[in-house]
Amino acid sequence: MAGSASTPKNLDLPPAMIEGVTSVADWVIVWPIALPMLGAAVLLMARKRPEWQAPFAFVILLATLVANFMLYMRVQAEGPLTMTMGNWLPPYGISLTADALSALFSLVSAFILLIVVLFVQSEVETRENKYGYHSLLLLLLTGVSGGFLTGDLFNLYVWFEVMLIASFGLLIIGGRKIQLDGAVKYGFLNFLATTFFLIAIGFLYGLVGTLNMADIALKAPQVESGAIYAVAALFFLAFAMKGAAFPLNAWLPASYHAPDPAVSAVFAGLLTKVGVYALVRTHLLLIPQSHAQLQLVMEVVAAFTLILAPLGAMAQTNARRALGFLVVGGIGAMLAGLAIGSPTGVFGLAAYAVNSMLVMTALYLVVGLVERMGGTSDIRKLGGLYRANSWLSILFIVLVFAVAGLPPFLGFWPKMILVQAGVEVGNFWLVAFILLNSILTSIAGTRLWAHIFWRDGREGANSEQINERIRPLTTRAKVWGLLPAGALVAFIVVAGLVPQPLFKAGATAAFAIYEPAEYVGSVFGSLSAAEE
């Protein structure tokens, strides 16, 4: 728009526009969103060439990962980074703003999707490639990264919808009955959640007259009206539904076991975490005064989610449905961090989210391989997989320890920080629930492991009987399935043994949330520069 031929010469631009060209280095914030979006579009055009899909998606994701890594290093070094689209001055233009929290989550998302695209090569049929499997995966990453990196509330809604439509496509690709059934429930409830989000945006706009997050962070604390608390409660409702917190969690275990295991893995890793991220943004940065008002609600929701999710996992006979409940349990731990609301609490939340993204994805991938060997995910019919493939059983038990939070695995450190945060503010009953969640999760997880791997045969079989249903993994499944899953687990183990990078990442992310001045400064900094 700027510099087009129709611009009158006498127009006074500085009050509305950024003059001069955005430096190339600042473009780094656009690439994590633009690359997967472009990749998805190109792959859709190349849908007649199924053999191109996977290599191209891999290259695009590798580039996205590099872009995310550059963005993350930049944010770590220099603090929040902002680029406003179309060179309009904020708050007129739509800003993309990356702080340590959003850059961290975006980086982990790209990493997870890279692993999953490798895993997908072990199972996707050419037929599914034609219907755009890889483009939908890239589009999902676009929505997730966009949601993390945007600095505009309405834009966040748009990214939520991009994510939603991509996940619809992935959920029903293949068109089996169970997928259609799961997709109906997933579709209606998630669409309703984004509608609530839109209502909250409308009310907030009516109260503060702006949608730019940094601008809201400046203006919302000055709002005297009690209506701001109603807006905050609506945000909590919408994002708790997106994040599958109790009692709005029903859609998650109803749908996550329906699609391909790889798709389940991406969903478990990425989707609910965007909801949690949005909760942190809205309740701690945008409307900080609402946190004290909603704290009790958050605590109760977190406590119920922490306890009921692993109990639900124990009651399942379908391994992937049980994992769905474990995803929900992780959301409970993150909500506990949000409810505590101190910098240590957000530190624990950020670290736990990273842990949950990696570990839940890996668990679904491993269970995907189990399904391929056993032909079912019904734990009553599985058994004897330890004898058939001991590597797979090692991967699974390591992940169970990680998700339950046993030292020295990755899940232990975030839980420790969350407990420390709870003790610091004297919220001992929430601490008790976090610890109880660990015990219940380890029971639920080890029960799965014992039934799938440890015992010799299916339910009711003699101990010497060999489970004849089990087929060994094909070479293709070993190379493209076991290796990526194993690499992800190895990464989780190393990250658990050397937790310093996670600590550093989580601490800077929490610091970023409690320093709104830096976030706001990165958006409006260009404004003061223009005035000089």
Binding site: L11, D12, F154, Y157, V158, E161, L164, I165, F168, I172, G175, K177, I178, L180, D181, G182, A183, V184, K185, G187, F188, F191, L192, T195, L198, I199, I201, G202, F203, Y205, G206, L211, P253, A254, S255, H257, A258, M314, A315, Q316, T317, I379, R380, R447, A450, H451, R455, E459
Partner: protein
Amino acid sequence: MEIALSFLIGLFFTVAIYLLLSRSLIRMLLGIAIIGNGVNLLIFTIGRVTREVPPIVPSGEYAPLETIANPLPQALILTAIVIGFSLFAFLLVLTYRAYQELDADNTDTMRVAEPEDSPRPPLSY
């Protein structure tokens, strides 16, 4: 005008929530369509309904001369309509396919993903 619109929005939401609480998917779809329109109307009202002139800058000026109507809510609604329409279209096709495959328009009988008579978890271990 705002008050009248508020009541209208309230009516939209009431009807939509009533329909969404139904077991029939067709009614739920209608509820989704109505709640979408209710939200659009809400954003429109929240941007303040004014009888001002459209935000057009006369030639030779840089800024509008008098108070203008707020164009932003209209841009938001336009986006929300497009998104809401496409998602509604998807849900419509999805529901139709589900009706064909599962032979059910009633959420009580849609139990493929969560079988009603699901077996008890194994009691070993």
